[in-house]
Structure formats: structure tokens, C-alpha cells
């Protein structure tokens, strides 16, 4: 329950953050809400000799909605997402997903940046951001660069962000059409047994475009292009749904854990995806 000792920094701007990261390399880590990192430190499963608290660094706490995109600061919390009425109007899937993350207390502290940056396959936002074709902005000593969410995740806890870079913003193109974030879990507060994020556009009764991503069914989130392709041009009837599920199953690779064996997870993944598509389609 008691973490090891560390040096604590609370810098006021990003330049200071980067300096500390440069100095200490992978002995230093940034922390936003701390609700992923602190439990690990308490169990002494994460060793962090130098802890950089980002809470006073400006410019990362806003949700900026323009005509075609939404720019979310890394320090925006799940509670901020849920409470933002304009955001709920323009990108309702974000609120729907955020409400299914953790519990009320954790949502007050847990940040979007924290949820997308560390590569934990159980987190909900990575798959969601892949569905939305979001772009992550990371900043390092050499300046800023943008990494698409669909290219960001390499393996469990391994992402395209370098150790000395900090994720500062998530930019989401304004989503169109019907939406759904469907998540099965053992109880409130649990990671997904299986979750699916779907955005789907209907045109004259058929699917014009669709975006599907799955969560906690692999060591990274899975953006399933094949599942989407199986729906485009169809009326999203039972056959199309079946094809989408079959395609998705080809893309995921779940492991057995306390939530259940692989066969179960595959089955549930299919059910969850089907429900997500149906719900999104009904809103399209």
C-alpha cells in the first residue's frame, strides 16, 4: 500500500517538464490524474524515482470545439467530458463512453491524456479515439508532432510516444452519423470484458461509412477496418452484421483471464459489436 520514495516536481510549463524528462530519462514519468499510475506505485509494481505532476501546466485543460474538430487537452477529465453540454451535442459518443469508465470519483481525476497515453489495453479511450480517427499531439525536446491514434499503439504499454515526449492534446474530427459505445463488464469500475465503439453514417438506407474499434480484446485497441468494410454499402441487415462480426473476430486476439476464456471473449465481442452497430444505426 505504501509507494517507494520519489522526487516530486510540479512544473509550471511544458519546457520545465521536458527538461526534467531529458535529465532523468526513463526514471522520470509524468502524471496527470494519477489514477493509473498511483495504484501501480502503491503496489510497488511501477518504479518512478522522479514524478512530474502536470496539474499546473497550462494549456491542456480545455475542450475547444470548432466547426470541424474538437481539440481536447490531455488534462481534461472524464467528468469534464461528461459535463460539457456542447461536446455532448457534437460528439455524444465521448460522453457515452466516459460514463462507462470507472466510477464517479475516478472520473473526477482520470484524464483523457492519462487514459490514452500509457498503452494499457484495458482503457476505453484508446479504442474510442481510433474509431473517431483522432490524432494525438505529443511534444518533446524537438518540438511537436502528431500521431494518429490508429498508429499509436504498438503492444501492451508500448506506444509510439518516446519516453521524453508528453502527450498534450487529442484532436478529434467532428464525428457524423449514429454512434454507440457498448461495453460489457463484470461490474461498475471494471475494465471491459469486451467493448466496441461505432460511428456510422446512413445514406438513403445504406451504410455510407462506418468506423469500428474494439477494446480489451488484444494487447492493443483494435481498429477493425475489415469489420467496417463488411458494412459499407449494405442495409446493415442480419447478414451484414454477421459479416462484420466475423471480420472483427479475425482482427482481435483476446487472452484468457479472470473475465473468462478466449472462446467466451470472442463470443461476447461479437454480441457487443452487433449491439453497438444496431444502436448506432438506429441513431444514424
Amino acid at each position: 500500500m505504501i509507494p517507494a520514495s520519489f522526487e516530486y516536481y510540479r512544473p509550471k510549463d511544458m519546457a520545465d517538464v521536458l527538461t526534467i524528462l531529458e535529465e532523468h530519462g526513463d526514471d522520470a514519468r509524468v502524471m496527470a490524474g494519477g489514477h493509473s499510475l498511483i495504484p501501480m506505485m502503491k503496489l510497488r509494481m511501477a518504479d518512478v524515482p522522479h514524478l512530474i505532476d502536470l496539474q499546473d501546466v497550462g494549456g491542456m485543460s480545455a475542450i475547444d470545439i470548432t466547426s470541424d474538430s474538437i481539440r481536447i487537452g490531455a488534462l481534461v477529465t472524464q467528468a469534464d467530458i461528461i459535463d460539457n453540454a456542447e461536446l455532448a451535442r457534437v460528439a455524444p459518443i465521448l460522453k457515452e463512453a466516459a460514463l462507462q469508465i470507472a466510477d464517479p470519483q475516478v472520473r473526477y481525476m482520470g484524464t483523457v491524456g492519462g487514459n490514452v497515453a500509457n498503452g494499457d489495453p484495458g482503457n476505453d479511450m484508446p479504442g474510442l479515439m481510433q474509431c473517431l480517427n483522432a490524432v494525438f499531439t505529443v511534444v518533446g525536446a524537438d518540438g511537436e508532432r502528431d500521431i494518429p491514434a490508429r498508429d499509436f499503439y504498438e503492444a501492451a504499454y508500448m506506444t509510439a510516444r518516446e519516453d521524453e515526449e508528453v502527450l498534450t492534446h487529442v484532436t478529434v474530427p467532428k464525428p457524423m452519423g449514429g454512434y454507440a459505445y457498448e461495453k460489457q463488464k463484470r461490474k461498475i469500475g471494471d475494465y471491459a470484458t469486451a467493448a466496441a465503439a461505432v460511428q456510422i453514417i446512413k445514406n438513403g438506407g445504406t451504410c455510407a461509412s462506418v468506423s469500428i474499434a474494439m477494446t480489451n480484446l488484444s494487447d492493443t485497441p483494435i481498429y477493425s477496418e475489415a469489420a467496417g468494410a463488411a458494412l459499407v454499402g449494405t442495409t446493415v441487415d442480419d447478414a451484414a452484421l454477421g459479416a462484420a462480426v466475423a471480420a472483427m473476430l479475425g482482427d482481435i486476439d483476446p487472452s484468457e483471464d479472470n473475465r473468462g476464456p478466449v472462446a467466451f471473449k470472442n463470443h461476447v465481442a461479437g454480441v457487443i459489436l452487433r449491439r453497438a452497430i444496431e444502436r448506432a444505426w438506429s441513431r444514424a
Binding site: 505504501i2 520514495s5 516530486y8 498511483i38 495504484p39 502503491k42 514524478l51 464517479p104 469500475g189
Partner: protein, 164 residues
């Protein structure tokens, strides 16, 4: 090799200043350094919610915050919510409706409920259960906790209307 720093935190309206290691968890700062033993510890993985306090208007699990992060913040615990001369309607309601048995989850439960009712002064039962899902109880089965919160909400709404 202790690296104690100087921290200032307002707790239940009182400014506290002290030296502590940054790694000191806020729950220990409250319970051991400041003798505020209302919030409790029930787990070490941030699940149970027995340590819930209110910080700068947010419900927070005090076991998942370092004292260093809390520097400069305003913390309210159950002790700051109401006492023998000025009980909060929730404290009354929990007694009236048997919303507690062993009492261990109760400080966190009531602290979270005060915030829930600020977020949503007239919650439905479903909204109460959802809004309290970060606080585990082993004794009551939650039914009378829900009843207590509903009763307090009704009383607070009525008082607000009467005042207007």
C-alpha cells in the same frame, strides 16, 4: 534519505501546514498527521471508496493522491460536513433510514452523497445507484443507503423551495 517538503492544505476550513515526504498518501496525511480519522482505508487498489473526500469541489479517493498533489487544495471530510450542533440532512437521513450498520463505509458514503446531490439535487433511484457506485458497502445491501439519500434530497429540495 527522507525528502520532506513543506505543504499547505486547507482541511475542513482550517489551514494546515507541515513537512511531509511527497509520497505520503493524502489518506495518511488526514488520518495520521492531522488526526482526521473519519475517512477510512478499505483497499489499496482504489476500488472501495471508504477514503472518499471532497477536494476543490470534486469527489476524490484520498488513497489515490499524494500529499504533494494536494498542496494548496481545499479538502472536506465527513468531519467538515456536519457535527453535533449542525448535522447535514444526509447525516440525519442515514440515521432515520438505517443507511449504515458497521459505519466503516459511512464517512466516504456521506461525503460522496453530498457531492452527488450538488451535481443532481433530485436524482432518481437509478441515478443514485450510479452516482454512488464508487463506494462499496458490505453491510447494508445499499437499499437503505438509497432511501437515505432520497430522503435527504427531498428534505433539501423542500428547504430550498421554502427559502426561495
Amino acid at each position: 534519505m527522507s525528502n520532506k517538503q513543506h505543504y499547505k492544505i486547507t482541511v475542513n476550513g482550517k489551514q494546515e501546514e507541515f513537512l511531509a515526504e511527497p509520497r505520503e498518501l493524502l489518506i495518511y496525511t488526514l488520518r495520521e498527521r492531522l488526526n482526521i480519522t473519519g475517512p477510512h482505508i478499505g483497499c489499496e487498489t482504489s476500488h472501495c471508496g471508504a477514503c472518499t473526500v471532497t477536494i476543490d469541489g470534486k469527489s476524490v479517493k484520498a488513497c489515490t493522491m499524494f500529499v504533494a498533489q494536494a498542496d494548496g487544495k481545499d479538502v472536506t471530510t465527513i468531519e467538515g460536513i456536519g457535527g453535533p450542533d449542525d448535522l447535514h440532512p444526509l447525516q440525519n437521513a442515514f440515521k432515520e433510514h438505517h443507511g449504515l450498520q458497521c459505519g466503516y463505509c459511512t464517512p466516504g458514503m456521506i461525503t460522496r452523497a453530498t457531492k452527488l446531490l450538488e451535481e443532481n439535487p433530485n436524482p432518481t433511484e437509478e441515478e443514485i445507484r450510479f452516482g454512488m457506485a464508487g463506494n462499496i458497502c458490505r453491510c447494508t445491501g445499499y437499499q437503505n443507503i438509497v432511501k437515505s439519500i432520497q430522503a435527504a434530497a427531498a428534505e433539501m429540495s423542500a428547504a430550498k423551495e421554502a427559502a426561495e
